[in-house]
Symmetry: C2
DNA sequence: CGAGAAACGAAGGGGGTCCTGCGCTAAAGT
DNA sequence: ACTTTAGCGCAGGACCCCCTTCGTTTCTCG
């Protein structure tokens, strides 16, 4: 239940550090878990009071740990974004297009379960600068490699691709199959035409 | 200022009819105009009180004319959707793919200035059943024609295409040029591969 | 085990939204 | 011109949210 108890979370200079006292640490983790769920369901604008309630903690405790909505948001999503970034590294062995495609697929499957991630990208939230940079750092090389190999169209930027693929995550599909079909179209649009 | 004074609005059996008394009619139109602007800017969840304020009318008057948010929403967007539907008819003369493409382009340019339209489609709002049907009735034939001509890929439904293209409208692009590039990718994804 | 400090929750101020009841105003119709 | 009545705004109840203050609880460490 508690967030994969890592010794301490990444140093971004922004994220708050995990508190030392036992009760405080318990609440901190409960808040992080609750926030993850609520942000995922309702998007980046979700009610902080709702998050505190779900964590079984007073709103004041939330504010004590995360002075602003941004702090909480980044604390929650940095893990996910890091995972996305790390994954990009494991893709070097694949053929250029396959690497790009599979990373983008992962990206969508992340973003659809996490409406907040979609929001952050779609609305260019400043709250998300750190995460945005990490995603760029991870994904752009993949696109550029595919472009150099002539597999991805050369006239688009990584941002363009990200927007297109992120758009696919915005709708709430009824069947999984539909999302696959739509994503397939998007990917075809990114591919270089023969 | 008043909404293109049509004799009476379309009969959907849902939209409220324009009131008979002069003052009432004035307020009705002001509300519709305000709603159009506010929905466009803030999306389908915009504050009704804000709309009433902008119309220079009391919130009670809004409720008197439009008992629910849905009533107001449909009253506002039916016109737009009708325009989109009408346009599809004028496209018969074009080559199958060109007809589809230009309709989809129009669709995007509508949806981007009207966040509420995007919302309605992305979230499958039940509030939007009528409009949704009209859009389908207008656009599906265009897709099917392009598919029959072998110009659009055959393995997708109209819904799929709509979601993909609508996704492009979701992000708020900083430059117009970027939106063009992203839309171009989406359209390429819809085209049949040679 | 017993301070002292750290963290907690209750509560409340300020603001916003949705929606309704009610007495008054001003348009319609004779 | 005068009555009728449709339509109006005011004001307020019932929520919900953001954020802060403050007295109390509970952990930690000597």
């Amino acid at each position: 239940m508690a967030t994969t108890e890592s010794g301490g979370r990444a140093e971004t200079g922004f994220t708050v550090s995990r508190p030392a006292r036992a009760d405080a640490r318990r609440n901190f983790d409960a808040l992080l878990d609750a926030a993850r769920e609520v942000f995922a369901a309702e998007g980046a604008g979700a009610s902080l009071e709702g998050i505190a309630r779900r964590a079984g903690v007073n709103i004041a405790t939330l504010y004590r740990n995360f002075p602003t909505r941004q702090h909480l948001f980044e604390a929650v999503y940095l893990d996910e974004v890091e995972a996305l970034a790390r994954m990009a590294a494991d893709l070097d062995s694949l053929e250029p297009w396959d690497a790009l495609e599979s990373w983008l697929r992962q990206f969508v499957s992340y973003a659809t379960t996490k409406k907040a991630l979609y929001d952050a990208i779609a609305h260019r939230a400043e709250m998300f600068v750190t995460g945005r940079e990490m995603i760029h750092a991870a994904g752009r090389p993949l696109l550029e490699r595919a472009q150099s190999a002539g597999r991805a169209r050369a006239d688009v930027s990584f941002d363009d691709v990200l927007f297109l693929v992120n758009g696919v995550s915005g709708a709430n599909f009824v069947q999984e199959a539909q999302q696959d079909r739509v994503l397939a179209m998007a990917l075809d649009g990114i591919k270089a035409r023969k």
